[in-house]
Amino acid sequence: MRKILIILISLPIFIASSCDKDPEMEVVGDVEIIFRANYDGELFLTQKDYEYIPDMSIKFSTFDLYVSNISLLKEESSTDESELVEIDFVDLSFDINQQSRAEEGDTVFTKKVPAGSYKGFKIGFGVPADLNRTSPNDYGSGDVLATSSHYWAPLDSYIFSKIEGFVDKDNDGIYETSEGEGFTFHLGRDEVYTERIIFPSDPIVVEDGQKLEIYIDIDVKKLFNMPIDQFDTNDDNLLDIEVYDGAHGNQEEELIIAKQLMRNYSEATLLEQ
């Protein structure tokens, strides 16, 4: 009698609960974002020689950047976004002994998002203004924003991207620091923050229970595109790096260069699924 009573009471509850759940069960898939770098289509590696302009080679030692406000957009014009990440740090400074790692790229994160079809991919290059008002003191040691090497105390800003290396200005096959052949572009401050929305030809489809890999390929050479004549006296649409070999955000001329280089992230970036 007792058993029958229990069954009679629990059965409707079970039916009711199973009826409630199905329509509201969230359907999600994983999205993984992987950043890779190339130099004019060739795998980007630090400590490797590339041609910057004819008769002048370039070699990199550091290439990194903050990415932020990454989200998937349902419609081209809509604000219906699925945020993937607020801020993260991408380090693509793999050297010539780390080729396989460079080919794999730097996986920034994997996140679950509602399954469905997305038309747009939004990405910010740098640290957005609200976060740029904070400082490494505000974060624990494991946080990407806790890194003091990417913070300018005098300018109250994070360094959004570092591009460092050497150019062989005299084309003698040697990168000589004593002859000032090093370059250091440290790009930061609110003014240089750049956002882009990419609309791939095929929609980004996140399927229920599946993992979607999105590759963001950055052509490092394109970061040096220079439409401003003052900084392109060779008229080759590239920054005259032998003259303008650094930007650190605290002088007007350098800030103009920094703005352009950060703006170049937009056209230097391709999305691949």
Binding site: S61, N137, E164, E176, S178, G182, G246, H248
Partner: protein
Amino acid sequence: MRRLYLFFFAFGLILSACGDDEGVTPDDDGMPGDLSDIPYDPVAYNLVVPEGYPQMEIPSDNPLTVDGVELGRHLFYDPILSADSTMSCASCHAPSGSFTDQLAVSVGIDGIAGRRSSMSLLNIGYVYEGLFWDGRSSTLEEQALLPVEDPIEMHNQWPNVVDKFKEHENYPTMFRKAFGIESRSEITKELAAKAIAQFERTLVSSGQSKYEQVRNVPGIFFTPEEQEGFELFIFEENEHPGCTHCHKTFNQMFTDHRFLNNGIEDLGGCDVEHLNNFPDIGLGEVTGNIFDYGKFRVPTLLNIAHTGPYMHDGRFETLEEVLDHYSSGGFCAPNLDPNIQPFPMSIEERDAIITFLHTLTDTVFMNNPAHQNPFE
């Protein structure tokens, strides 16, 4: 037969009663070992950091306690850690030198010179990874274990040291108070390292250097020469690349904790194969990557006027030599930090930078009684 059992039982009872009189239970070696009668009431250590400093991250498995820090201070200054009881941690990290030995390279108990200069321990608790010049230890607890068994440092073995702790008049009680152990047999090298790490985390700036007073106290200013030096140090003008690329003023730490090749070594050439010519490969020893050869930790500049000779091998006696090196642009190498670039610097400018560097001197820290040798 039953009487015989009774006899042995009674004899045993008498023996144990004798032991009880002393209030402790013998350990295997026959020494009194039970420490449970000693009160264990850990009190959190109140770590005060100056204005503008971040809160230090303390490992959850080694919180700072008053007794833990005190034990650590004793162990730090106690030469029984070394094989011949002549050398303590403080032999290479003395407060008068901002916890360095002010030698080009440190010398161990056998009179053998090491290959590197002792690093200042000022604000060492803020280093969360990559300790030592080459970054081979991840935590202070790991780091503290190594010098004892290093054959050119203390040249000892931890079991010997732990035995000395167990037999010591005071240490068993201090370990009990610091960590709540029940018996001397529970004293381990790991607990000793934890205690030393606790003490080291208290080695924080006082906030009383001239530089910090100028920043934080209204009405205190740099002299004109200090101001000129500060501006040369911090800004990238007149082709000066800026010292703050690596010696970040943020957090008042004057380091960014990275590992770099700063171009001090003439490798005889600029190609990749020349990287093999580094006499000390630094970080490369840890990672095995040839492009890490010759990279060393960027040290803090706080108390820099008291921590010479300079560089990982103490090759520069004076700050003048250091600045001359940097203005030269250093020697080429594939992995040279590109921020090391030649820049013009007059004698007056060099003097001004050095005058500024002297404002980073924190004598209050060096003279802090809480940091001194408890045996004196």
